[in-house]
Amino acid sequence: MKFRDKLRRFASEPEMAKQPAEHAAAGEPTLGAVLREGPAGAFWLVETHWPLSHIHGRTVLGQFMQTPGSQLAFLAQEEGLYGTALADMVFLDTETTGLAGGTGTLPFLIGTGRVEGDFFLLRQYLMRDYPDEPAVLEALKEELQQASGLITFNGRRFDWPLLKDRFMLNRVPLAIGSLVHLDLLYPARRLWRYRFHSCSLSSLEEGILGIERQNDLPGSQVPQRYFDYLASGEAGLLSDILHHNVTDILSLAALTAQLAKRTSLEQLPEASAWEAEGFAHLYLRHGQPEEAARFGELGLTLNPDRRASRRLLLHLGRAYKRMHLHAAAANVYLVLAEEFPKELLPYEELAKYYEHVEKDGDRASAAAQQGLSMAQLQKAAAKAEAFSRRLQRLDRKRHQGRSVLSFAQDDRDNGTLF
């Protein structure tokens, strides 16, 4: 039996037998690509210059430059941005042969964007075929070494680890220490996760940047398109990928500007309640209740929907409490209990407040009782247990007739409330 027949019988799988797809309008390559040659080999470089005044969606392309990095540092939680100018950083986005990760995934197109003079210079490093990779990486290394940082979308988890692997694999030493890396996905999630569930770049383009992609090649089809090009040698097949990648990078720049704008939310006419919520939450987590309260109050003035109201009120209550504005906090919890009776926290907070601040055992018991009923209704056993312990204690307190003051000392709430 012929070896090949044997192989076919044992190893052929139907899903493997993918034939290159037919593409009607392949046409002449109009990529505008220039062959770059160096000691490590050659590759195609596509350079386009975009005026900084170009408008991408509803954002002026060069707008992001006007923001000092420090302004975004808190929202992005990236220390390195203090003292870094965004204009000195480089935008980066890759197109790969797959999303699975691992050393068999090739970033065959690496797009970068940065400010050069009056222009936004967009460079696309394109591999004509697999062997071009070392040359691309050498050239990319040059560009990265000149930049003071990287701006990506999900690059922390995807593009950058992948590139580091490729440098390693091709033995191109990357003499870059710890790079400042602004991954826009994280600040975007902080502000918009409730508005756009997936927070993908395309949902943000649509909802924030005002961009609707026309005739765009979906990202999921990119790998197969590149394989089709490799099989046919038809460079025209790549123009859709290049175009897709250009839009991605321009969107990164626009998104940076839009995020930066949100850092002065009060002055922003289009500010939304959810964005205020995002800041309130972030400040609360980082121990700045005054700021959190400011954004909580702001959010409530921005026509929040019910879900946003609920979260804003919860943040606000917590912030006031941390600021020792107990009466204000209690007011917030009263509103919450009124508007969102299923929420258990307000009853607990109110019971504490009446007991320890107002020294009003009856109202404290009433609040705890409400909490208990609601917890039982929701079959929240642990919560119900806590409420009934609280009730018993309040009861005991009353019966023993001890002075309220002396109780404060053995009260388990002590540490948390005061």
């Binding site: 039996m1 192989l7 044992f10 493997m16 034939q19 050393t103 697999y130 394989f227």
Partner: protein
């Protein structure tokens, strides 16, 4: 009191003694000791002395020496002979002096890996904590993975994780691969058959990655006793290995007893349940306060035995004296049982083969094996659990009525005389090879002239280019697919291809069991009655594509018996020879199996209650087979020939696994009265795994021994007209089936025909 009095009972009690087919005493052996090697550090010696180890056994010293001298080594010694010191001493010595050095430990299961890490961590602490040891497996939290990748001196994992989690991400493991000096493979004998063939390829990929990072690790393997440790190690690691098998561990006197339960129905050849007999014998030991391990064949049997023995021993307020041990127990619980066994707080433990591998439970005084474990190697592993250096011990093997067991119980030499089986792998199985070449190409492009597993993979690479999986550019082949190939290749292929049975009774959806792809059309077709732990389930739906069957519990008075039609076509003969009138061959075949219908059969009366149709796809497998054809001489009685072939095929199917160290379910047989290919009466034994893993060729090589073994078994079987222990029940193979089968086989071997 003590073990002697129990042995005395076994000797004296006629009802017991008459069932003993063999009793052998293995004399005591004293320890052979050697000094610590001169190169060993004082620190390390101190660690060992703290454990009461002042000298090494000779095999340990020899193994350490060979490893230190730079050889690849395979250590072959029985259970509890201190195998792990053979690799731990050189590895710790090296890393203690060269903190950058790395070692990779492979264990076949996660549980064994975790055991080992606990021990390694103690050593490490005592050496000052510089040697970081971690397990890396599916349970490792993502947060710990980064630290392990860069800082783990010893990474303990399993082949599956190496295959799908480490090699495809080798750039993240650069510190490990650049500095990898030792690869330790324990339980080497468990890497055989399909699993072993896959693992051999994973190791070929490991070699490639190490070459890329400029390292060339040494391999240190440890194995239970097998016939071919050197060859097996070489087949797996791709390099010759020095075999070290001069066991220096001491051994007390040991009695080995083969026990055959009494016959309860002579004509049907049915014996008393081995489970109950094992229970009876284990109770004898336990009642005399002898620490005993009982090996059961399944998880259910384990639980049943625990219940029985607890009842039999009946110690008020001491339920923990008898414990069960099997997969499915929580790790914490298993650790606790192991500890209590070592401390002697647990008197008896009933275990599946989970305790056959190298988990440290100390040494017990008696072992009872419920049924022959399936291989000689496993038998010795299990028997090795009983036996202390300073006391005598005893092992009783209680055989059941299966053909394998009946053969073993009547042929003590099979276990006692000859060595263990050969462990077989076929890393070049086309199916397996191509799968791993894909994974390898994903990890690193192949370069022109590069060898894979010692041979030139160009043809396969070009084939994969045609399949649009690889791309040839310049002098290299690159991965060209969105897929992550390792995900689609399971090293333990049987498990991924299994069908699960979902119980939907009362709106539940509980998985109650699994059957393999081949058995699915037979056992879980729509309308089948599936019996699981003595409950009956009616199969309502079989989703063949999703590999799921949905069933609900019923109480039916019938069972179902599906009719499987197997067609076998020879595609290519690899080798063939004529012996007398018989032609033996092995080669490639295509097996097509289809289930057309099933019968409903009433329990006890066996009357036919009707039948149903099954419409399921035909299962085709390209695989390898061994076959022989014996042309008819003189006039033929087709019916007699049919029953001779059927009987002979049945007994061959049951006997072949004895020689192959495989499961009976790994093989299938087909008998053809007039084969279209050979033109004569032919029996085929084929491998169920696509492409085969070397069993067929091995059967061809040992054909004479195989056929003689079958004849011996037939001659020794006391049944009249065939029973489940030999050619199958008489009503299946016909009243003269047993005789006809024996005659057929004897003629095939050109033996003088007896009676």
């Amino acid at each position: 009191m003590g073990i002697e009095s129990v042995l005395e009972t076994l000797r004296r009690d006629p009802s017991l003694h008459s069932q003993i087919t063999h009793w052998q005493k293995i004399p005591a052996k004293s320890a052979q000791l050697a000094d610590f090697p001169a190169w060993m550090d004082e620190d390390l010696k101190t660690v060992l002395r703290k454990r009461g180890i002042g000298k090494l056994y000779t095999h340990q010293a020899e193994a350490c020496g060979a490893v230190w001298a730079g050889d690849d080594v395979v250590v072959v010694t029985p259970t509890a002979s201190g195998k792990s010191l053979c690799y731990n001493i050189p590895v710790f010595q090296r890393i203690h002096h060269q903190p950058e050095a790395r070692a990779l430990y492979l264990f076949p299961t996660k549980a064994l890996a975790q055991d080992q890490v606990a021990e390694l961590m103690q050593w490490s602490d005592e050496l000052g904590g510089t040697i970081k040891t971690y397990t890396y497996d599916g349970d490792t939290p993502a947060s710990a993975r980064r630290a392990i990748r860069s800082a783990g001196s010893i990474v303990v994992t399993n082949p599956d994780m190496l295959h799908s989690g480490i090699l495809p991400h080798h750039t993240k493991w650069i510190r490990l691969f650049e500095n990898l000096e030792y690869v330790v493979i324990d339980e080497l004998h468990s890497y055989r058959g399909v699993f072993g063939s896959h693992v051999a390829n994973v190791l070929r990929r490991l070699h490639r990655i190490c070459r890329f990072y400029g390292s060339r690790p040494q391999f240190v393997c440890a194995s239970a006793t097998i016939a071919n440790p050197g060859d097996h190690a070489a087949a797996l690691i791709g390099r010759p290995a020095v075999v070290i098998d001069n066991n220096g561990a001491p051994q007390g006197e040991k009695d080995i007893i083969l026990y055959n339960p009494p016959v309860v129905n002579a004509s049907l050849g049915i014996r008393r349940s081995a489970l109950l007999e094992a229970q009876k014998i284990a109770a004898l030991f336990l009642k005399d306060n002898i620490q005993t391990i009982v090996f059961a064949r399944s998880r259910t049997d384990t639980e049943v035995l625990v219940t029985y023995l607890r009842r039999a021993i009946h110690r008020l307020g001491q339920p923990q004296t008898i414990r069960g041990y099997r997969g499915g127990y929580l790790p914490k619980q298993r650790r606790e049982i192991e500890r209590d066994l070592r401390r002697g707080e647990v008197l008896g433990v009933v275990s599946t083969n989970a305790l056959e591998l190298g988990v440290d439970i100390g040494s017990l005084q008696a072992a009872v094996l419920t049924g022959y474990p399936g291989t000689i190697a496993s038998t010795w592993q299990q028997m090795g659990r009983a036996g202390r250096s300073d006391e005598s011990s005893a092992v009783v093997i209680v055989c059941n009525s299966s053909p394998l067991n009946q053969f073993v119980v009547n042929h003590p030499d099979f276990i006692m005389g000859q060595g263990a089986e050969r462990a077989l792998v076929n890393p070049d199985n086309m199916f397996i090879l191509v799968s791993h070449i894909k994974c390898a190409a994903f990890e690193l492009p192949f370069t022109e002239g590069e060898l894979y597993g010692g041979s030139d993979p160009t043809d396969i690479l070009d084939f994969l280019v045609e399949e649009h999986v690889l791309r040839r550019a310049g002098d290299r082949w690159y991965w060209m697919s969105e897929n992550y190939p390792a995900v689609h290749v399971s090293l333990r292929s049987a498990s991924t291809d299994n069908f699960t049975i979902v119980d939907t009774t009362n709106g539940s959806s509980t998985i109650i069991g699994e059957v393999d792809r081949f058995s699915a059309p037979m056992m879980i077709h729509e309308g089948a009655i599936y019996i699981h732990e003595s409950s009956q389930y009616h199969i309502d739906q079989l989703d063949f594509d999703r590999q799921k069957a949905y069933a609900h519990q019923v109480k039916a008075d019938y069972y179902t018996d599906a009719n499987l039609a197997v067609e076998l076509k020879v595609l290519d003969t690899s080798d063939s020879c004529q012996e007398g009138i018989v032609t033996h061959s092995w080669g490639e075949v295509m097996v097509a199996a289809k289930t057309h219908m099933y019968k409903k059969i009433r329990f006890y009366t066996h009357e036919n209650l009707g039948w149903g149709e099954v419409s399921l796809p035909e299962l085709e497998t390209h695989t390898t087979a061994y076959w022989f054809v014996k042309p008819t001489t003189g006039p033929t009685d087709t019916e007699a020939l049919q029953s001779a072939l059927m009987g002979a095929a049945n007994i061959l199917r049951n006997t072949a696994p004895l020689e192959l160290m495989c499961e009976p379910s790994d093989l299938g047989v087909v008998a053809q009265v007039r084969s279209p290919f050979t033109q004569g009466p032919t029996i085929f034994i084929y491998e169920k795994y696509p492409g085969g893993v070397g069993f067929s060729q091995r059967l061809y090589d040992i054909r004479e021994a195989l056929l003689s073994r079958c004849i011996e078994l037939l001659r020794a079987c006391p049944c009249e007209n065939g029973c489940p222990s030999c050619v199958g029940p008489g009503d299946e193979v016909g009243p003269r089936g047993k005789h006809a089968a024996r005659q057929f086989l004897e003629e095939a071997l050109q033996l003088e025909i007896q009676g």
